[in-house]
């Protein structure tokens, strides 16, 4: 088994060149290990070898992010590295940004496994944790030993393309991707422990941080609704009888587009619902209860709206991932724009 070739990136301080006074040194390369590379070498053992260390001043890097990254990617390519590690940067902000940027750059250009380590409050963490893995470290170099241990363990996993466990198991910063694993204690027990900590004012870690949602600027109101082409969209799963596109009853992986030409109202012999998350009796008996085609046709005949768009779009909003729903909507919007639809009524169950 050949040893994996590792290239290691560090700053001027850890290279023992100098402190703030030397933060402006440009990119340079040295053979073998420098500074903390020694600890990495010991931890890698026979599995990997640091063939070179790239050093750059934190100020220089942050003032030349693009060029410096490009230069470093070039060096890493020439050195034929199998894996690339940077830092760990602990709580040093510019160093953290540098480590994150070079790792992201190397990973993007060369496709090799990369890893850095930093404290969760390092600005570099928020910037890069969704692009690359970042090992969670303490906030100072006193945490070097554990940082090296955790980084070596994870980077070797990445190099061997093994499955990576949950963030708390592998000690990387949570990166918005939920990974399942089995705890030691059952959930009820963990709940009691967490509550007792919360009551005692002791620190605790929630197992799921609440998300925040972006806001979209409201679209302008319709000016002339009597001339508007209005489309119907639903997440209630109304489909032609037999569900010809096999839209799943839960975790839908697709949406359907169905022709409404000549249809004055939905009937139970020709339509049904595919949704598995609610009592379907009522929707199956009268699908207009979920997709109000009958009323929309009346409004069209009375001239209250210009026209009902001749296609409706349907998917099942039962445990369907938000990312999937977003994807459907982007495609639906494309069609709506092509056909100059003026407004949408979207019904949900």
């Amino acid at each position: 088994m050949t040893k994996l070739r590792v290239v290691h990136y560090i700053n001027q301080f850890f290279a023992q060149i100098g402190g703030e006074d030397k933060a402006d040194i440009p990119v340079q390369s040295r053979e073998g290990v420098v500074g903390p590379g020694l600890a990495f070498r010991q931890a890698f053992g026979e599995q990997a070898e640091i063939v070179a260390t790239i050093i750059c001043g934190d100020t220089y890097f942050n003032e030349h992010i693009e060029e410096a990254t490009k230069q470093i990617v070039g060096l890493v390519r020439e050195l034929k590295a199998d894996i690339f590690i940077a830092g760990p940067a602990f709580n040093a902000g510019r160093y953290g940004v540098a480590c994150g940027a070079v790792c992201a750059g190397v990973h993007k250009e060369l496709g090799i496994p990369v890893l850095t380590g930093m404290f969760e409050e390092n600005p570099g963490a928020d910037m890069y944790k969704n692009d690359i893995y970042i090992t969670a470290t303490k906030n100072s170099a006193a945490g070097m030993r554990n940082a090296v241990k955790d980084m070596v363990s994870l980077i070797l996993k990445l190099a061997r393309k093994e499955a990576v466990g949950a963030s708390c198991e592998e000690h990387y910063l949570p990166h918005g991707i939920r990974v399942n694993f089995f705890e030691q204690e059952r959930g009820s027990r963990r709940a009691i422990d967490m509550l007792l900590k919360k009551l005692a004012g002791k620190p605790f870690v929630t197992e799921y941080p609440m998300p925040t949602f972006d806001r979209v600027k409201p679209a302008c109101a319709l000016q002339n609704i009597e001339r508007a082409k209005v489309a119907l969209v639903t997440s209630g799963g109304i489909v032609p009888k037999g569900n010809p596109d096999h839209i799943e009853s839960s975790s839908a992986s697709k949406y359907g587009a169905y022709d409404l030409t000549g249809v004055d109202g939905l009937t139970s012999d020709r339509y049904e619902t595919a949704h598995g998350g609610y009592d379907t009796t009522y929707a199956n008996a009268d699908p207009n209860r979920v997709l109000p085609v009958d009323v929309m046709r009346d409004l069209e005949k009375e001239g209250k709206i210009g026209s009902l768009y001749n296609t409706y779009f349907s998917t099942v909003g039962n445990g369907t991932a938000v990312a999937a729903a977003k994807k459907f909507a982007v495609e639906i919007v494309h069609k709506l724009k092509q056909d100059q639809v003026d407004a949408v009524v979207l019904t949900s169950t």
Partner: protein, 78 residues
């Protein structure tokens, strides 16, 4: 889906029963409906009365589409 449609500049009204979720997620024009399994219906009513109910809800949805809003607004029954 509502937000993606709105992002493209097409006015969209969300007719739904669980208004809090729609508010949390960020729909702008919201019309509360009857119940989860029959948002635009009520099986306890006769067919013609039920259709009138559905018509009133859709009318309210069209009103919402015609109303300028600067943020989120729930269009309740008057």
């Amino acid at each position: 889906m509502v937000k993606e449609i709105e992002r493209a500049g097409i006015p969209v009204v969300h007719m739904c029963t669980i208004v809090p979720i729609s508010l949390t997620v960020g729909a702008n024009r919201i019309v509360p409906t009857i119940a989860i399994p029959h948002p635009l219906g009520n099986p306890d009513l006769s067919a013609s009365v039920e259709k009138q109910l559905r018509r009133r809800l859709v009318d309210r949805a069209l009103d919402a589409l015609r109303t300028e809003v600067s943020g989120q607004k729930v269009f309740e029954a008057k």
